[in-house]
Symmetry: C2
Subunit: 144 residues, 2 copies
């Protein structure tokens, strides 16, 4: 057993555990008409709206793909889009009412999973894990 997994895979395993957990429980709560890919875009919408292109870059996909996903999200009532008052070319993607409720629901699940992890690792190690990951963002997260 004690083989040395590469750090990438080590990161991926809990990430996927969190994602499927949130996804499953949200589906159980009635938010069952979106896909993981749509969620990955949705999750990056800033509180006061984001431009399509910014969403695409942050999610690491092309703007065409992002537009495709946003359109689905809009059709399902999770977001709505408005013209950007500051830039005639741009469209702002905003979280709609249904989206806000789903955010609330997901926050609960995330908190629950994080509590389980904390129970397993202990509060101090969990906090350090988050600190280390946050610091890693500086060299692994191209946007901000």
């Amino acid at each position: 057993m004690a083989e040395e997994l590469n750090t990438g895979l080590l990161l991926f395993l809990p990430y996927r555990a969190m994602e499927t957990r949130v996804f499953d429980e949200l589906a159980a709560a009635g938010f069952d008409d979106f896909t993981p890919a749509q969620a990955r875009v949705f999750q990056r919408i800033a509180p006061h709206g984001s431009r399509l292109t910014d969403l695409a870059r942050q999610a690491g996909i092309t703007k065409q793909s992002a537009a495709f996903l946003v359109e689905k999200l809009e059709r399902a009532g999770y977001v709505h889009t408005v013209p950007d008052p500051d830039d005639g070319r741009a469209r702002l993607v905003l979280i709609a009412e249904r989206g806000r409720r789903s955010v609330e629901a997901s926050r609960t699940v995330v908190a629950q999973v994080e509590a389980e992890w904390e129970a397993h690792l202990g509060a101090e190690r969990m906090a350090e894990l988050r600190r280390a990951l946050t610091d890693l963002r500086e060299i692994t997260d191209p946007w901000r």
Copy 2:
């Protein structure tokens, strides 16, 4: 930007950084005829071969999808498959010569990225990060 990202996203960012880095450098080294999805399956082949179904479960996809990906990998010379001598129904997926060379190349890149992370965090914090992630496997990794 001290906002509190959820731990899942925090895990995802460095994971993706690692994945794209390895993918890009492998492509530059001539291993450019496989996709990330194929790599995610390939990466899980045990040293002495794995069954298709096991690969599927570990990668979190259906056996049909796994078969599809393995077939591509076989066509590109990264793996070959043989009947499992212990079970007439099963096929063992084995790493082929070209696959072995790509593993070697990827190991180099992974080591390089891990070294960069270690330089950023310090050796002790990096080691603790790996320990914490390894411990999290116990509750987030359904297979072992």
